[in-house]
């Protein structure tokens, strides 16, 4: 009956075949989508003046790379947006985790701050962008602040929830084994909240980009948001799509990095729960 056992090779080959299948369908779908867009605009069924077209987006990107944009070098603008989002992301994640764990571990503090957190969470956060622009000016700081606010709350709530959901039995076990409060936090609470925290990090880099770009819409001297606003002002849909494409590449790269970090930190989890490969 030995031939019934699946050898490593067979398993690997099957996985490869199914991957190739999935990737071919994905490619086919993209070709169909972009191809029909190109076709429809070529035939003027869709007006390229309003809808742009794939070849136009490509030409726009090439122009930006070769000759720069209306508001300066493409790289400088992309870099400004990237670092605004990254600073907002990192500071939001850091403080979100700290506050979430602190309030999750400290019932009295949580009860005291609860109403304030609820109120500040209920403010439509994008509106804060206007306030930040007034307070902090047209420079990068106001964008970082907006990105921070967008990132902080989801990370905070997840860190808080993850801390609260830490298994009481494991905490009791650690204390019986001699753990101090700090050790319980570091060795039990944080590891068990980590999957909650990394889950929130996946969505929050997107939020950080939104923060940076909306901030730039509201008033800036540089950045992809301003580039989009400029393209919109000159009725250039290809410019809007081209900038969107760059933003999407940033978001996907960040997502990939976060997934790597997550797999590193959560290597103790059974592999089937490490998530959908999105």
């Amino acid at each position: 009956m030995n031939e019934d056992f699946l050898t490593e090779e067979v398993i690997k080959r099957r996985a490869l075949i199914s991957r190739v299948k999935i990737h071919s369908f994905q490619t086919l779908f993209a070709v169909l989508l972009i191809g029909s867009w190109q076709l429809l605009t070529d035939r003027k069924i869709l007006d390229p003046f309003f809808y742009g077209k794939p070849s136009g987006v490509w030409t726009q990107l090439v122009t930006w790379v070769e000759h720069g944009t209306a508001i300066g070098s493409l790289w400088v603008n992309a870099w400004v947006t990237l670092y605004e989002a990254t600073y907002g992301f990192l500071s939001g994640v850091f403080l979100g985790i700290i506050f979430g764990i602190f309030l999750g571990r400290n019932k009295t503090a949580a009860d005291i701050f609860a109403p304030y957190i609820k109120v500040s969470n209920s403010i439509p956060r994008v509106v804060l962008g206007s306030i930040f622009t007034i307070w902090l000016g047209l420079g990068s700081i106001s964008k970082v602040a907006l990105a921070f606010v967008l990132v902080f709350f989801p990370v905070f709530f997840n860190a808080f929830q993850g801390t609260r959901e830490a298994d009481a039995k494991l905490i009791a076990n650690a204390r019986l084994l001699g753990a101090t409060n700090g050790q319980v936090t570091r060795r039990v609470v944080i590891p068990s909240a980590l999957s909650w925290i990394t889950a929130s990090m996946h969505v929050s880099f997107g939020f950080a980009l939104i923060g940076a770009i909306v901030g730039e819409f509201l008033g800036a001297q540089r950045g992809l948001g301003l580039l989009i606003a400029t393209a919109q002002g000159t009725f250039n849909p290809n410019g809007v799509y081209a900038a969107m494409l760059i933003i999407a590449i940033m978001a996907l790269t960040a997502e990939w990095l976060i997934t790597q970090l997550e797999n590193r930190l959560l290597n103790w989890r059974p592999s089937q729960v490490s998530g959908l490969e999105l």
């Binding site: 009791a172 076990n173 650690a174 204390r175 019986l176 084994l177 001699g178 060795r187 068990s192």
Partner: protein, 272 residues
């Protein structure tokens, strides 16, 4: 070496809030005194309140009425000289076998624990699995990690909640002997919960039979089998069988009561 602690329950009742907002009485006027260094087995039907009694001893919960004392001091909080092997898996999923077993020594900031940890890994038969995480172990292996994790700290009061129930017969025999040897050298006080009466008699100085919930002490048997005992062989001893029959007669009534209730419970649910 650790010396056993004196334990006493005085008039202890414990009730829990039920999800429907009522109360569930888990212990009712439980009275029990345990001498230092005694090995006591608690037996009783499932759901009667055995785990609850251990939780109170460990300081994880407070009694609703009455006092639980360890070393003549009322238990109000966790005490690190108490060791607790939980009924359900309590290993840390993010620590591998080595780090799980080393958790106590690390929390306690011991300096030299590597050889101690390794010797415990060997004792529980997990050599070669040091870097496995709990999800990569069988239920029985996790239980052995939990045992080593607890015993490595040499608790003076050892609370074991059905520690061998997930183990296969062979491992169970080895672990039982290991526990006996350990206890015979350090004489800590042991409260051992089990639903296996044979195991209870083979190991303990005293077998306490609890009533179907809420738990009270129904009967208290001194086990005068000579020590050192070999748990594997003793169950064929003639005196062992006599003791077994004596205790089973008492226990059976409580098991029947609990079983009848179980049969009635779903019927109530179906009646709507």
């Amino acid at each position: 070496m650790a010396n056993g602690t004196r334990v006493s329950f005085t008039n202890v009742s414990k009730r829990f809030r039920t999800p429907k907002g009522g109360w569930y009485q888990a212990l009712s006027e439980l009275n029990l005194d345990i001498e230092p260094g005694q090995f006591v087995a608690l037996v009783g039907p499932t759901g009667c309140g055995k785990s609850t009694a251990l939780t109170l001893l460990a300081g994880l919960e407070q009694p609703s009425i009455g006092n639980v004392e360890v070393n003549r001091k009322i238990v109000t909080d966790i005490d690190t000289s108490t060791g607790f092997v939980f009924q359900h898996d309590s290993t840390f999923p993010w620590m591998n076998v080595y780090n799980n077993i080393a958790a106590g020594p690390k929390f306690r900031k011991l300096l030299e624990f590597d050889s101690l940890v390794k010797s415990w890994i060997a004792k529980v038969g997990l050599t070669g699995f040091e870097s496995n995480f709990p999800h990569q172990l069988s239920g029985g292996m996790k239980k052995r990690v939990a045992l080593a994790q607890c015993l490595i700290n040499e608790p003076s009061l050892l609370l074991l909640d059905e520690p061998f129930s997930a183990l296969d017969v062979q491992t169970r025999a080895i672990m039982t002997d290991e526990l006996m040897t350990l206890w015979e050298t350090n004489r800590s006080t042991v409260v051992f919960v089990t639903h296996d009466l044979e195991e209870a008699i083979a190991l303990a100085d005293r077998v306490i039979v609890l009533t179907a919930g809420p738990a009270r002490v129904k009967a208290d048997f001194l086990i005068d089998l000579p020590r050192p005992r070999k748990a594997r062989d003793i169950r064929f001893d003639k005196h062992f069988l006599e003791i077994y029959q004596g205790i089973w007669k008492v226990l059976r009534d409580e098991v029947d009561i609990a079983y009848q209730r179980q049969l009635l419970a779903p019927a109530k649910g179906n009646a709507k």
